[in-house]
């Protein structure tokens, strides 16, 4: 269970003093899913870009208009067949992790810490002012601030979309209704591509924030415990 606080004490001789606080913020299933997901997302994006290299376009094959000449050295798999092996292997890890994560969040109630809710709306604008317009830092009340929750909620939504669009591209016949929902096979492939970039955008922002928030915050995703939380 997350949200458990302790006071950390130091004993020197007879004296025991409080030197800080810590909170158990990330339950084990969340930490495991986070790191497995981070690795599988890396592999999925890398191999996906190698697959994209085989036909870097969204229009007709004839005449083919290449949109993006993605460098091979920033892709995984070496060739189309190799990339497909990575993609079709790690998609199972990616999906399984996603399902375990969602199931855990739902049944543990831990989703309340993560999901953006109505009560977070008033806190959005002060946080935007702080992040982007040098406004004062709003007081931290819980593990995640409203914008963080918004980002994580969006990322979870993108995760679900990446699977659904991927399913439509992989199985446009068996899941023809899914491809139809997305506007057809062409659009499904384009959505799958755009969802990936949106996720990479999230990852970029996430990494920037991890660097800005320092060591204690980073370690909390490994040990679960965050030292000296702001709330």
């Amino acid at each position: 269970m997350s949200g458990a606080f302790v006071e950390i004490t130091r004993t020197t001789g007879e004296e025991t003093e409080t030197i800080g606080r810590a909170v158990y913020e990330h339950p084990l299933p969340v930490r495991l899913c986070h790191w497995v997901n981070a690795i599988s997302l890396f592999v999925m994006a890398g191999s996906g870009l190698q697959i994209f290299r085989a036909f870097p376009s969204f229009g007709a094959k004839i005449p083919q208009k290449d949109l993006l000449n993605w460098p091979k050295s920033f892709a995984i798999g070496g060739w189309l067949g190799g990339a497909l092996q990575w993609h079709l292997t790690f998609m199972w890890i990616y999906v399984a992790t996603g399902l375990i994560y969602l199931g855990y969040q739902l049944f543990s109630g831990n989703y309340r810490q993560v999901l953006f809710a109505r009560r977070d709306i008033p806190g959005v604008w002060p946080m935007v002012k702080h992040y982007f317009f040098f406004g004062p830092k709003p007081p931290a009340r819980e593990a995640y601030n409203p914008l963080q929750k918004h980002a994580y909620t969006t990322a979870i939504g993108l995760g679900v979309l990446s699977v659904l669009t991927g399913l439509a591209v992989w199985k446009p016949v068996q899941f023809s209704w899914l491809a139809w929902l997305m506007g057809g096979f062409h659009w499904a492939r384009l959505w799958h591509f755009l969802v990936m970039w949106a996720m990479l955008g999230f990852v970029f922002g996430h990494l920037v924030m991890v660097i800005l928030h320092g060591w204690n915050n980073f370690v909390s995703m490994l040990t679960g415990w965050k030292k000296d939380p702001e709330y």
């Binding site: 269970m1 949200g3 458990a4 606080f5 302790v6 006071e7 950390i8 004490t9 130091r10 004993t11 409080t18 030197i19 606080r21 810590a22 158990y24 084990l28 930490r31 495991l32 790191w35 497995v36 690795i39 592999v43 697959i51 994209f52 085989a54 036909f55 376009s57 007709a60 094959k61 004839i62 189309l80 067949g81 190799g82 497909l84 092996q85 079709l88 292997t89 790690f90 998609m91 199972w92 890890i93 810490q113 009340r141 819980e142 593990a143 992989w170 199985k171 446009p172 016949v173 068996q174 023809s176 139809w180 096979f185 062409h186 492939r189 370690v219 490994l222 040990t223 415990w225 709330y231």
Partner: protein
């Protein structure tokens, strides 16, 4: 989530006595401590810094299994893991395949113009088949093996369909294909449809394998027409496979041999280089 600061009744904060915290139960005690208020200040369970370090280390170790994924980075292990992953995908694909589920069909207005239908040979665009001598040689688990002429195949009921042809590369076209259902042909030659595979070989040395469920699908054709015209040489004349439930490389051109079998030594030209064996759409 957060301790309630406004709760008026003060707890005795027993758990706050120093050094009295069992690290293993610290979090549950802390949970119990939520809402305990002394002098309107929350009292948390206390943990010695050494015990905290120990608890942190233990929690870190629990995340360590993630490192197992590094096996994918070991050259010798990588290939076999990816092969297993691809095999699992193929297994799942075969389970997802529904015999009665038809691939979407399209109106004539949605067809890709014939001249914009890509030609994707693997080595030559024309292996130089001599049409007059051409036959389809049928072998394996069939009652009537032998050489079948194109006219015998064309005598079977003709199906014409506007279906999507999807390349493994990611492009696709909507084409109009005509031919005999492979299931009708298999019935004509008395094939044992409890066999697992239909293996074909081609005039350009290409070879392919279809699983029986796909071979018997109503949209799987021995195709001798495109856009209501006889198949052209670049598109695989005189006979090719048209399988709208499969990716393009499974739809072999220039067919010369067809075998009904339970055993395949080689799956297909691309499959044997690492592509998916099933690749059903």
């Amino acid at each position: 989530m957060e301790p309630d600061n406004n709760k008026p009744d003060a707890g005795d904060a027993k758990s706050a006595s120093p050094g009295n915290v069992d690290p293993a139960t610290a979090s549950s005690e802390a949970k119990a401590a939520e809402g305990e208020v002394a002098d309107s200040k929350i009292v948390y369970p206390r943990m010695n810094e050494r015990k905290f370090a120990q608890v942190s280390r233990r929690e870190l170790l629990k995340v360590l299994p993630v490192v197992a994924l590094a096996a994918f980075a070991i050259p010798g292990v990588q290939a076999s893991l990816l092969k297993k992953g691809l095999g699992f995908s193929d297994w799942a694909s075969a389970r997802l395949f529904r015999r009665g589920h038809l691939a979407p069909t399209f109106a004539d207005a949605e067809l890709t113009p014939f001249e914009k239908f890509p030609i994707n040979g693997y080595d030559v665009d024309d292996p130089g088949v001599i049409f007059e001598n051409w036959t389809l040689t049928v072998a394996g688990l069939v009652q009537k093996p032998g050489d079948y002429k194109l006219l015998q195949i064309q005598a079977l009921p003709r199906t014409r369909q506007n279906t999507r042809h999807v390349c493994v590369e990611g492009w696709d076209v909507i084409g109009r294909f005509g031919g005999a259902r492979l299931s009708d042909f298999l019935a004509m030659v008395g094939a044992d449809t409890s066999a697992k595979f239909i293996a074909v070989t081609c005039a350009d040395d290409y070879y392919e394998t279809l699983d029986m469920a796909t071979a018997l699908h109503p949209q799987t054709l021995l195709c001798y027409e495109m856009y209501d015209q006889p198949l052209t040489r670049p598109h695989g004349a005189p006979l090719r496979l048209n399988v709208p439930t499969k990716v393009g490389y499974k739809q072999a051109k220039y067919l010369t041999d067809l075998k009904v079998t339970n055993v395949v030594e080689k799956v297909g030209y691309w499959e044997d280089q690492g592509y998916s064996s099933f690749y059903g759409l």
